[in-house]
Symmetry: C2
Subunit: 639 residues, 2 copies
């Protein structure tokens, strides 16, 4: 954590100074509808920018008390780290380490353990796969929002009843909200952008005239969170049990050491039938679970929550309201635009990833850094991802439900499961080339930092203080791009890296670091760092280019956290782990949402410039655009 830059202040360094705000609540930059994982992720991301006004509303009367989602993928933990609360989640959560598989012996009637695999293979992510109540995750988001400069809090008891886009492209969106706690009262909010994070029955989606398309539900499942006693030995492992003839069951141990979630397969549904039609009871779920556990005992002491649901995989055609020549102003994220079965453990994670993809883009456009074209990439990137997830989920659900009488089927399930652990970890998402993902990257310079995929961290040593850390620790959710130079062999800041710095400091019209305003720190838009191959004791900080020891803040203090070295402590270093060309080095551009936008040669200043000009426009464009961005809201022309 870096703080005290503009003077020493006592107290909690995570509590940002409150911004002075005198805007009307009825006019905001972004209106977020829904306080689920997507809505809260988006609100928390936007709350990082004191100059953006946000309203987040929910028809519920208060925060979620008991959530349905619980699985938190490694990738989501990486995002939580960027938001500053991963260590708190890790502390309270159950950590998924292994998965065991039980099924009947061939021709036998009793289940037995047939395999155990690691849940997260080595070097999938430096963060763990954990299980924690969704409600608790919400609380961490709410705390983070509340500690931001605008002290953002949701407005509850507000139900969206209408949504209207203005006639002209620059007009705000008009949203009508029923005030559920105030009789028949309603209010109107004018927003530059509206994002529907309002779940599978999204009103925003309906107002956009879109619908979820996909398979109807055909398989009924039950789920319950229980305190129980059993002599089944794997009750604290994630565990898939396929019974001889009574269906399947998935055990997800929960946080706190005692609670357990059971996913229980029930019957196939008839065409058009819904879960609610079946009148499933908690007793029926218990009974079925006991049968599947047999001959092991299962005594339920308390049911904390239970439900029955049908599996449906559905997705919207697009996630925004773009139309001919009109940039999108209304978006949907999370369950509002795609739904899936819970067992792949993806619902909450994908919803949060949607919002993390959208948040920085909205911020960049609202702050005048980028043109509105950037916003198209949200629907393009996330819809493709949702489609892929649905295919994965469908296959997974099918394999899981296949009766285990056939050992071959069971083996197929295990193989599929195992193969897709990386997928489930959330680290397999790969975006296609676009405005923000360079098609003709020099991928061969860093084979393990795949363009279009999330930046895969590795350990490094910070040169100025010798601290061993993850390079990914630097990727805060602050809307900044990262430019990381991996120095060629022998370069101690005096060779190719020096030349790169000279270019970046030249202040030419295409120089991307010029994007920072006159009064801003040089790294306020693009955060430039370097990783050297030398051990840190060999690197001379006093010979570093100035740009890697930038002066910041009102005192011009030196930021010492830009220079890193490979870790020579033990095992492979970051260059080896990420397949970085030791001879030539590599220059990696990382998006604010942690995705690798480009891999270039350290000397590719032209391509580098070209990329950022595409995204941001030239410095001149940017200034002009910024001038059009005032503090007023309604009717203000957008950049």
């Amino acid at each position: 954590m870096q703080y005290h830059l503009n003077g020493v202040r006592t107290g909690d360094p995570g509590l940002v100074d409150a911004a002075k705000v005198d805007e009307a609540e009825s006019h905001v930059d972004v209106l977020i509808v829904g306080c689920g994982p997507a809505g809260l992720t988006l609100a928390t991301q936007l709350s990082a920018f004191p100059d953006i006004s946000v309203a987040i509303v929910d028809r519920k009367s208060g925060p979620l008390e008991y959530g349905q989602a619980d699985g938190i993928a490694c990738r989501s933990m990486e995002m939580f780290r960027a938001f500053g609360f991963a260590e708190r989640v890790a502390k309270e959560a159950y950590q998924v380490n292994e998965v065991t598989f039980w099924r009947p012996s061939v021709g036998g009637a009793e289940i037995r353990r047939v395999e155990r695999i690691r849940d997260v293979e080595d070097d999938v992510s430096e963060m763990p796969h954990v299980i924690l109540s969704q409600a608790r995750v919400h609380e961490f988001f709410l705390e983070a929002m509340a500690r931001s400069a605008r002290r953002l809090e949701p407005r509850y008891n507000r139900e969206l009843i209408r949504l209207k886009r203005g006639c002209r492209d620059g007009d705000p969106v008009e949203a009508g909200l029923a005030c559920l706690d105030r009789g028949d009262r309603s209010e109107t909010v004018f927003a530059r952008y509206v994002v529907g994070c309002d779940g599978a029955r999204s009103t925003v989606r309906k107002c956009m005239g879109l619908e979820l398309k996909g398979e109807s539900a055909q398989q009924l499942w039950g789920v319950m969170d229980v305190l129980c006693t059993t002599d089944f030995p794997d009750i604290r492992f994630k565990c898939a049990i396929q019974s001889p003839d009574r269906g399947s069951l998935l055990i997800i141990p929960r946080e706190g050491g005692y609670l357990v979630r059971l996913y229980i397969e029930l019957d196939a549904l008839r065409e058009g039938e819904r879960a609610a039609d079946r009148g499933v009871t908690a007793e029926a779920l218990i009974e079925r679970a006991r049968t599947i556990f047999s001959p092991y005992s299962l005594e339920i002491k308390e049911i904390a929550w239970w439900s029955a649901y049908e599996i449906g995989q559905r997705v919207c055609d697009r996630f925004d309201d773009r139309s001919d020549g009109r940039h999108p102003r209304i978006f949907i994220a999370g369950d509002a635009c795609h739904t899936h079965s819970p067992k792949a453990g993806q619902g909450m994670n994908v919803s949060m990833a949607d919002a993390f993809n959208l948040g920085w883009k909205l911020a960049a456009v609202l702050r005048g850094q980028a043109a509105a074209d950037l916003l198209y990439t949200y629907s393009d990137e996330r819809r493709a991802q949702a489609q892929e997830l649905i295919e994965f989920d469908r296959e997974m659900a099918r394999l899981f439900s296949e009766r285990s009488a056939s050992a071959e089927n069971a083996n197929r399930f295990q193989r599929y499961f195992s193969k897709h652990q990386r997928y489930t970890a959330g680290v397999e998402t790969r975006y296609e080339p676009s405005l923000i993902t360079l098609g003709d990257s020099q991928q061969e310079l860093a084979l393990g930092l795949v363009v279009g995929m999330r930046f895969h961290s590795a350990p490094v040593v910070r040169a100025a203080d010798g601290r061993l850390m993850e390079l990914g620790d630097c990727l805060d959710a602050d809307g900044r791009w990262r430019l990381i130079a991996f120095a060629p062999h022998g370069d101690s800041g005096t060779g190719a890296v020096w030349n790169l710095c000279s270019f970046l400091q030249s202040g030419g019209s295409g120089d991307p670091l010029c994007l920072a305003g006159q009064d801003e720190d040089p790294d306020s838009v693009i955060d430039f760092r370097a990783v050297f191959q030398l051990p840190h004791r060999k690197l001379k900080l006093d010979e570093m280019p100035e740009l890697l020891l930038p002066r910041k803040g009102r005192y011009g203090l030196i930021d010492y956290e830009k220079v890193f070295c490979a870790d020579h402590g033990s095992g492979p270093d970051i260059f080896e782990m990420r397949g970085i060309d030791r001879t030539r080095g590599a220059l990696v551009i990382i998006r604010p949402d942690h995705f690798v936008a480009a891999v270039l040669a350290v000397g590719s200043t032209e391509k580098l410039t070209g990329f950022f000009v595409e995204v941001f426009g030239t410095q001149h464009d940017k200034r002009t655009a910024a001038a059009g961005y005032g503090t007023g809201h309604a009717g203000t022309r957008l950049p």
Copy 2:
């Protein structure tokens, strides 16, 4: 973290259910005077017990805003983990990784780096050595207290003015407090025990008729926390600079990436002269620092805090008010009983360690678990430790101040410094044999778990869920003893460990686990766990002795967190790291403050019983004692 044992409850699991309390504020079990590190540690420890009433008072009007202490030893971080906030400290703090030494070249006038060493060698502790403002540490303690069952908060503006022990041994101590915020008002508090954590000028100590004894101060030092710019390359390392002729300077980089603490050597004081007499100014400190830094630049942008002080090492003859035949009722801890120079970075750490030593003992006696004899060990153990520290500190200060003209002296300082890194880490404390530290332990069974020293953690894998973790993670600050069986080779719970469990479950009069009351969980007094040599995938949980899967809480849920395996992942396992006899195993008794009380053979049930009978009395004694412990306070006879 374990929670949900007695039913699922939403919200923050660290927030303990509030206890119903209807005691008068004027009658408490323990009165703590002073809200410094010692007082807050003690209060936080005692707040873990809902049945103990505590008042903590301070003459100041509110919490500390800017603290002087900042160094947090590895051992203190281990303690913070036990209190549940180590990860928050680690996140905000500066981590000390290396120390560099600068001095003039022989005959030269310019300083240069002559050595760099690691600050914490491998396997000194699994926790880092960090730097964080004392005020922030206080805040974490205050939060922990406030979240305890009694929602303990300090009472500020209360100054101790008198202290009187009753005539009879069982009478409470009467404390008079001036209410500084209420004119001439004062109030009286009756307490079973009073602990003075009220600093070097302790009123409690004076009331006890004790004084600090030791060397008078002779060396003047300045200290300042600054935001500065410099071209000195090691400004983010802990760094000792010895200038050619202008004295020495110690750099302690601070949290947040910009702030730095400088300890600056000033002049020798004359006999009887105090720091205040010299009229030191901030300007003079800056001037001296600039001279020592020369030829490197040093520009001070902001002074967050500064002070001048003289070094004095002083200690009290004893830390309690024992007298012929009368058990102690009044104690002193921290600076109230010993003072030292700040540069060894020990002040705050030793104060907290005092309180951590005393807290569980007071709790055990107050709760009727142990006889009051236990309380003698506090002064005995901690005074010896303070004396040792003072000798270390004196030598360190002397070596540090010796002019560096002599390379030999400089080298001696470096050697001493390096040798004592373990000492500074706080892990060298070793208590003598006593009631609670077994003299005739079988140390050879676990050479790396030294009797009288803190339990040295190592990684293990939890059998029930395959989680790789530190065994030390289990040592919560909950007043419980730990009994850890390290199983002999080949034992999977069916051999020596099985026999031990049979003995422990026998319920015989000497069986220590019987100390838990009828309505309490079996591990409520002694927390029994086992570590096996087998890989966790080989261990069969369903063949474990019941005692290692104990039933707890109102539902009789199974606690799955008692069984561990050696980590076969990579490198040496816990048996190798801690020198545990693989053939015979070992049985280790750990005190509530993490110190190893005994190392025994797994089958040494007689010695085991003997030890606990000494500490707790027999079950019969205990019940009798407990009967004498009511909820009333004033005048209640003590056990």
